[in-house]
């Protein structure tokens, strides 16, 4: 008898009322967008400000000699570029 009495209760807008009362959704796109924007600005600044013309030419003998005067500026440039690439990849793959 108890089982028989368990009739289905029509929704009648109940679900809608619950969903309307839920806290507002967090803006999950905001953080990756900020990261992506910052990375893009970083790229632009790096292209504009890095002393590309003053960078020492790289040749095999210079690399093999491990001359710090040649390697240090290039290491810095590569570090900046790598960090910007990493930031962009992280922004694209962001999963909150």
């Amino acid at each position: 008898m108890l089982r028989e009495q368990s009739t289905y209760i029509n929704d009648d807008g109940f679900t809608q009322r619950v969903i309307a009362a839920l806290p507002r959704r967090r803006r999950t796109w905001l953080r990756p967008a900020l990261l992506l924007g910052s990375a893009a600005i970083g790229w632009v600044l790096a292209v504009l400000w890095l002393p590309w013309r003053n960078l020492p030419a790289v040749d095999l003998s210079a690399l093999l000699s491990l001359n710090p005067q040649v390697l240090t500026p290039w290491a810095l440039v590569l570090t900046v570029a790598a960090s910007l690439v990493w930031a962009m990849v992280a922004a694209i793959q962001w999963d909150d």
């Binding site: 108890l2 089982r3 368990s6 679900t15 009362a21 806290p23 959704r25």
Partner: protein, 181 residues
């Protein structure tokens, strides 16, 4: 889509559509359970059911999936009912053990009369007895699931089911075929 898929989507993306689907699936048993608990006050039951689902939204990350989702929801619903009853100071007057003799002897009548009297008799059970009788006998939860939902020992659930059934049987003994209840 399974409950687990929907829950995963809610947790990953705060997906309102996925949560709406969960609410649609379980609104009926949760509202019916709370209506029983609130002794037929459907407005109070719906308010409590809404609070239940809002709390489920906030606490969804704590759902481990060891019990069925409905069992977890019934647990929240019962806690909501208990808090509301405590606020309304109803728990102290809730435990009506015995009815006056004339009320316990309904005249044997139609199935509709029995249904009405069963509804009335359920209202007379204590809240703990009513909760386990409704969960186990109406919603088909096992004693273990009811114990999990109500966060009480298994022995207490078994005792309350037995006691609740005995009271119902005593109060409704005027009806034939009561055993089928």
């Amino acid at each position: 889509m399974t409950d687990a898929d929907l829950i995963a989507r809610v947790l990953a993306r705060e997906d309102h559509h996925a949560f709406a689907e969960l609410v649609r699936r379980y609104q009926s048993p949760v509202r019916a359970f709370l209506a029983r608990m609130a002794r037929g006050d459907t407005h109070l039951a719906d308010d409590l059911a809404q609070e239940t689902f809002l709390k489920a939204w906030r606490k969804l990350h704590t759902y481990r999936g060891t019990a069925q989702f409905s069992t977890w929801l019934f647990g929240i619903a019962f806690n909501e009912f208990r808090s509301a009853a405590r606020q309304r100071k109803e728990l102290t007057v809730d435990d009506v053990d015995e009815l006056p003799a004339e009320a316990t002897q309904p005249a044997a009548g139609s199935g509709n009369d029995l249904r009405l009297d069963l509804t009335e008799a359920l209202k007379r059970l204590s809240s703990n007895e009513r909760a386990v009788v409704v969960l186990c006998c109406q919603n088909g939860l096992s004693h273990e699931e009811a114990a999990k939902a109500l966060d009480c020992p298994l022995g207490t659930v078994k005792t309350n089911v037995l006691r609740g059934k005995e009271k119902l049987k005593r109060w409704l003994q005027g009806y034939q075929h009561y055993e089928s209840a």
